[in-house]
């Protein structure tokens, strides 16, 4: 209930902003005579999926010997296939455009089916070692499967899952990305972050350019930028650089990438691109400040430059969409 809005409705009606029917409906909503529980139902369904998948994990762990690996793998396969079969039957036709959701139940079954397939694949690989030394490739297979499901059934959550699984295949996670900025990580990991990030950004651009699930662009773009900037920042803060100047090259690349992200974010009204670019540029600048200035002066400079960034962000926010 919102008394401020409720009190204003009769006035809006008398001034002709609202018609009588709309005013009546809005008065019911803002007077708490009609209440939506849509988000609550969605939250309950998500919780149910979490409970079921966690329960399946415990089932496998506790009953491996009693049921046997084949029985468990077969049960997981059947459960996953059943979910995805129902989803496939109820799914609307494929389109490269955005397809409206078929409902909360449909989304839940899709997610459950994909998750059970992931559990199945992980279990089979762990038990039967089908891929042997190449075992991490099961994550790539899972990622491709999730990608296909995301595109076929137009699901942003499943696409995000696919990209995160792909990154996990390359040894990357949100945790590792942060560690790579503030700790010393292997060059391989950094290269993986940069390559993954670049790949995701290319697909983001292609999605938009060729209008193939263009509404997925932000999912690709956000994760791509996150990984790309994490890789660049790990280069900037690399402590094992013996030449002493290598970080400057990373700084230059980071500055260029941040400038592009900020400019593109402003041009295309992508607040999250703008934000990631601004924060990456700022973090990169910290290294320069502390390299060049004594610590005490550097503190003052950081404070002043933070205020400068604040003013810059405030000046530019109007260029972005207002619900940014």
């Amino acid at each position: 209930m919102n008394p401020d809005v409720l009190a204003a409705l009769p006035r809006l009606r008398s001034e002709g902003v609202l018609d009588e029917r709309t005013e009546r409906v809005l008065a019911r909503v803002y007077g708490r005579e009609l209440v939506s529980v849509r988000n609550e139902i969605r939250a309950l369904v998500s919780l149910a999926i979490l409970l079921v998948t966690t329960g399946v994990g415990f089932l496998v762990k506790e009953n491996l010997r009693a049921i046997g690996p084949l029985g468990i793998a077969a049960a997981l396969t059947l459960a996953s296939a059943a979910c995805l079969f129902v989803v496939a039957r109820r799914a609307p036709e494929f389109s490269w455009g955005e397809v409206p959701s078929s409902g909360i139940g449909f989304d839940a079954l899709l997610l459950l089916g994909v998750l059970l397939f992931g559990a199945d694949l992980g279990f089979v690989e762990a038990q039967f070692h089908l891929l042997k030394e190449a075992w991490p490739y099961h994550l790539l297979i899972l990622s491709v499967f999730q990608l296909a499901a995301a595109y076929r059934f137009d699901s942003r959550p499943v696409l995000s899952l696919s990209l995160a699984t792909f990154a996990a295949w390359r040894g990357l996670s949100g945790n590792a990305a942060l560690r790579s900025i503030f700790g010393s990580e292997s060059e391989v990991l950094r290269a993986n972050a940069l390559a993954c990030g670049a790949l995701f950004l290319v697909v983001a651009a292609a999605s938009r350019r060729f209008e193939r699930k263009a509404h997925f662009e932000m999912v690709w773009g956000n994760l791509g930028l996150f990984l790309f900037f994490a890789g660049l920042l790990s280069g900037v803060f690399e402590s094992s650089d013996r030449s002493g100047v290598g970080w400057i090259a990373w700084e230059l690349v980071l500055a260029c990438a941040a400038a592009i992200a900020i400019a593109y974010g402003l041009k295309r009204r992508r607040p999250s691109y703008f934000a990631q670019g601004a924060i990456a540029a700022y973090l990169g600048a910290l290294r320069v400040i502390f390299e060049v200035l004594p610590d005490t002066v550097a503190m003052l400079f950081v404070s002043v430059s933070s205020l400068a960034m604040l003013v810059f962000v405030a000046m530019k926010w109007r260029s972005l969409r207002e619900d940014a």
Binding site: L47, A48, P157, G174, I279, L300
Partner: protein
């Protein structure tokens, strides 16, 4: 809160509502324009990304400047205390100045400024109390008392609802240190719940204050539930929070089947049901949500004491039942006349569906983790975790 700020908040509430109507197609662009003309002083709301950026850079500026002052002035406790006091006053003044200017207040930095004013005020209070009496217990009690008062006053003055939450939490942490902490949690928790509920629809309040009272209601309910929960009683959760021992009670589980223990078990079961009934009867979604969360906690408590079935059975069956019940409710609402049943509907009704939040939640909850190293496959076999997993490559949401 100044009269001008209150008026601005009211205009903002109306403009926000009109924006959501326009988004839902209930009113056209012309009607939206007329509402905007009628609300000239309303804040141009900025979204979460912008607010996070402002808070990030503002915090960096404040903390770096504090670091500079410490580096120049030295890190003796007196210097730190005085500096904190100075920063608290300066940031409070800056908050006032920013809110006084409609142009500046639009950027939403007042929340960040007032937050750091509060943090520095608490550090300064800790220093003053420590100077008077170095006893750690007394300093903590004093800081909690100051925290309750400061955040409450800050919420009232500057209209940041989160400060109301901070104040209520500080208040109950303070109560936990009293000799009858548990009884006080129960009585005052229920009292604050009633008080919070009564303020939710009060027209004389502005929107942030009503939201703050909603937060107080949640904290009150949580406190009252914690006071009666059987697990909380047996494990003396409140007493541990207050760093005290429960008089006349031994280690965990000592309540056993005593009258108090049985009463707590009954209350653990009945409390969420009462909250749910209240939520349904009053059609308050926030009370309904609280009832659902408390119900889940009571089920976990039940499972802790009574092993009716293996854990995986409980999880799978409860998950399946929960999912089926949620979908059945949705279907019943959709099939009802006008998609309404007893004043409830499954339609969106201008509420944000939180699509980006869903994406982030899915990634965080379900991304599998890669295990590195030569022994990884066997580790995977030993620690198989099904569909769950650690957080993956970060939130890939549309716009956060």
């Amino acid at each position: 809160m100044r009269a001008a700020w209150r008026e601005r908040e009211r205009e903002t509430a109306l403009r926000d509502a009109a924006l959501s109507w326009a988004k839902a197609g209930v009113i056209d662009a012309e009607a939206l324009k007329r509402v905007e003309e009628q609300t000239p002083n309303a804040y141009r709301r900025v979204g979460p990304v912008f607010r996070a950026l402002v808070f990030f850079f503002l915090s960096a500026a404040v903390l770096a400047f504090f670091g500079f002052c410490v580096a120049v002035g030295g890190s003796a406790s007196k210097t730190l205390g005085l500096l904190s006091l100075l920063f608290a006053v300066a940031l409070a003044v800056a908050t006032e100045l920013q809110l006084a200017s409609p142009k500046l207040s639009a950027y939403g930095g007042a929340g960040g400024l007032s937050f750091w004013a509060g943090v520095f005020a608490l550090v300064a209070a800790g220093w003053v109390l420590h100077e008077q009496d170095p006893s750690e217990a007394k300093v903590i009690t004093g800081v909690l008392a100051v925290s309750t008062f400061f955040w409450g006053a800050a919420c009232w003055r500057w209209g940041v609802w989160l400060f109301g939450l901070f104040s209520a939490v500080s208040f109950f942490l303070l109560l936990a240190r009293a000799p009858q902490g548990r009884a006080l949690w129960l009585v005052l928790g229920l009292l604050l719940t009633v008080l919070g509920a009564r303020q939710l629809d009060r027209a004389s309040l502005v929107s942030p204050h009503r939201t703050a009272f909603a937060a107080v209601l949640y904290v009150g309910l949580a406190a009252a539930y914690a006071a009666v929960n059987r697990y909380g009683l047996d494990h003396r959760v409140i007493e541990k929070l207050g760093e005290r021992r429960l008089t006349g009670m031994g280690d965990a589980g000592a309540a056993g089947n005593s009258g108090l223990g049985l009463w707590a078990a009954f209350a653990t079961a009945i409390f969420p049901l009462l909250v749910l009934v209240w939520g349904l009867r009053s059609r308050r979604v926030l009370v309904l949500n609280a009832g659902l969360v408390l119900g889940a906690l009571s089920l976990v408590t039940l499972r802790f004491y009574i092993h009716v079935a293996p854990l995986w059975v409980i999880l799978v069956v409860s998950g399946a039942l929960l999912g089926a019940a949620a979908l059945a409710i949705q279907r019943a609402l959709q099939n009802a006349p006008d998609e309404e049943l007893a004043g409830f509907t499954a339609r969106a009704l201008f509420r944000d569906e939180g699509k980006n939040l869903q994406v982030a939640a899915v990634v965080l909850a379900f991304t599998p983790a890669r295990l590195d190293g030569p022994s990884a496959p066997s580790e995977l076999a030993g620690e198989f975790r099904g569909g769950g997993g650690d957080s993956g490559g970060g939130g890939a949401s549309g716009s956060f």
